[in-house]
Symmetry: C2
Subunit: 389 residues, 2 copies
């Protein structure tokens, strides 16, 4: 297999983009990534597009060729493939793009992620996102996606004493970073009190413990590492790309407070990259709900089981420790356009590893980790990225 590098990145603003269509945001992110990679569209071989639910949300299936077409590339008859894995669609699309270049079948490809969640009612959007859980055994009985994550939070509190203040610290950090990110859905800071006093969504998760429904798109350009120097002085190598799945329904898991899919994907990823946990200084992780970030940090091996709440609240992952998480503001503040999230994580990490993250820059970032989750962990994806000097 060939080593694969990210040569360029692009991203739209995340938010309620009512004045812009699905195709428009997809194109904007893709072109920005191409320009950033200093590639011409005539160099491209394929597009892999992560998207959760365009059929339900914009009445359009078959969206990968649509984006290709409206980017003016239809005449070149590239391959265009949509990849879906619930909220992890973007990260799985990145895995497919990585396979495509690693195999040698394609040289340069674009991996995009795009979602338009605010063109339908919140009720309909929530019905769709609940479809990333087990419809027949969870959603039809009224178990929504936040309610399922709330169960994880309650169990975590029961087993380990995790407090509402500790959960809230995740959201406070996210908004602190979102305030520094011009693409973020939310750029306001949040106080601990505001998070604690917010109306409940599913106890113990309040409104500010839950990421928003966002519109947005992100894209990266991949190519063989050996040719990357032609295009950039700072190629970012994809050192590991791992997808692992688990039961759809939360009730069928070994235990509620561990995402085995994340544990397994991380274990495989560190082996693949020949790296250790302590090599990672910056990570973008799945904080769709505050509890998601806490279990992720445990499942990824960055903190002992049960200790994530105390560590987070103590600032261990927001400046005081060796690992800095979610400099982008994460899903909570940068936003949650489901299928775009996994690609946006890669965009942020590339900016961090290049040293181009401005006010959000994490110092000394050499190895970055991205973790993305679909549903309550039926899919987890872990990528490791590395600056090649």
């Amino acid at each position: 297999m060939r080593d694969v590098a990210i040569l360029g990145v692009g991203q739209t603003r995340f938010g309620e983009l009512w004045d812009r269509s699905f195709r428009e945001i997809g194109i904007e992110a893709g072109f920005e990534a191409l320009v950033n990679a200093k590639l011409s569209s005539s160099d491209l071989g394929a597009l892999f597009l992560g998207n959760m639910a365009s059929g339900s949300l914009v009445s359009q299936e078959h969206i990968a060729p649509l984006i290709l077409d409206y980017s003016g590339l239809a005449g070149r008859h590239l391959a265009a493939v949509r990849v879906e894995a619930g909220g992890a669609s973007g990260a799985v699309a990145l895995h497919q793009g990585w396979l495509a270049v690693a195999s040698g079948a394609y040289d340069f490809v674009v991996v995009g992620g795009a979602e338009k969640l605010t063109d339908v009612s919140d009720t309909e959007a929530n019905r769709v996102t609940d479809g990333t859980t087990d419809h027949e055994w969870e959603a039809v009985f009224g178990a929504t996606l936040p309610a399922l994550w709330a169960m994880i939070a309650r169990r975590h509190a029961h087993d380990f004493g995790t407090t509402r203040e500790e959960l809230a610290s995740v959201a406070v950090h996210a908004h602190a970073m979102g305030s520094k990110n011009p693409n973020a859905h939310y750029r306001n800071r949040l106080s601990l009190e505001a998070v604690l006093e917010a109306p409940p969504v599913a106890e113990p998760l309040g409104v500010f413990n839950c990421a928003p429904l966002s519109d947005g798109a992100a894209a990266v350009v991949l190519g063989p590492l050996e040719r990357a120097r032609k295009f950039t002085d700072t190629p970012i190598k994809i050192s590991a790309s791992q997808v692992a799945c688990d039961t759809m329904a939360l009730q069928h898991r070994r235990e509620l407070t561990t995402l085995d899919s994340t544990m397994v994907a991380a274990r495989r990823a560190f082996v693949q990259a020949r790296k250790e946990r302590h090599d990672v200084t910056v990570a973008e992780i799945h904080d769709a709900y505050s509890i998601s970030a806490l279990v992720a940090l445990e499942d990824l091996g960055f903190v002992a089981k049960g200790a994530s709440g105390r560590a987070f609240a103590a600032g261990e992952f927001s400046g005081k420790g060796k690992l800095f998480v979610n400099p982008s503001g994460g899903l909570k503040a940068q936003g949650r356009p489901f299928g775009a999230v996994g690609v946006a994580q890669a965009v942020e990490l590339v900016r961090q590893l290049r040293g181009e993250a401005g006010e959000r820059q994490v110092s000394g970032a050499e190895v970055g980790l991205a973790q993305d989750v679909g549903g309550t962990g039926a899919t987890s994806v872990v990528h490791l990225f590395e600056r090649v000097n």
Copy 2:
């Protein structure tokens, strides 16, 4: 890149399977393929699942881990990826599976295709399938998928004198073969008169010129060719796998009667496989509408532009010529469970190349071609399969 072989195949009956759920049919096809490959599920590394619209049709996104889960494989934490490309979803999933094994990242993978179209009303199903065209520029103006293909048929008749009798001969052949296929949605023979007298869907296409909405699933197991002999005496090599895209909207094409995406995918596939058209003796092609099969035969290079109608009606592709098309009965008679079609084409060709097709066996089948189409040709996929002696 490693050579990739198909080691096993499985398929459910296609039809109106009201008594069986999406997950049930997905599992049946997958297990049959595993047993057929003489593989254990513990050998597997990934599942790639082609599906057009499970979100709209069964309120379930994130279906690849769902099928993995209900197959009892969740505990092994394999990768599971859904691939969507309209009606070509299954064929594109096969492309992704091929990339996965060719790259060396995975050894043995299952590629499945599944769709459940009859759990919703025909109106809803048609709304969904129309979503494989350009929603904003075709579907919203009332141009349905059959209406767009009817425009292609009218133009073909105008330019080349293709007759309704010639179109009808495609459906007559499909049902003749479907009558020999125990998995077929329709096993009745059709007379030319019956096709001609059927009520119109979109002139000149009558009901019997249009493939049905079906439920069904199909699966193949892929592995490295070099290890295939351990599992089978008749490994079938994937000699070429090519995806090519074009404009979403028919009105933006260079001309109405040519699918450039099919032409380009075929050209690339024959180069990749180092084969010529005359090497191919059996083909499964996209006959969702009778005209689809005629333009496919021209675009694939099996007959001169404009001559397909006369050649088909003369029996050139149904026994009298060197190439036999759609021994399975095609989409018209075997059925059209959108996302499953491309995988079912591979299943039929493997059976043909192994000499296991029973009454449908095409004699001397050594090289087979599959062509699958999404929408009106925004995606085309061409695979070449070869018996390795």
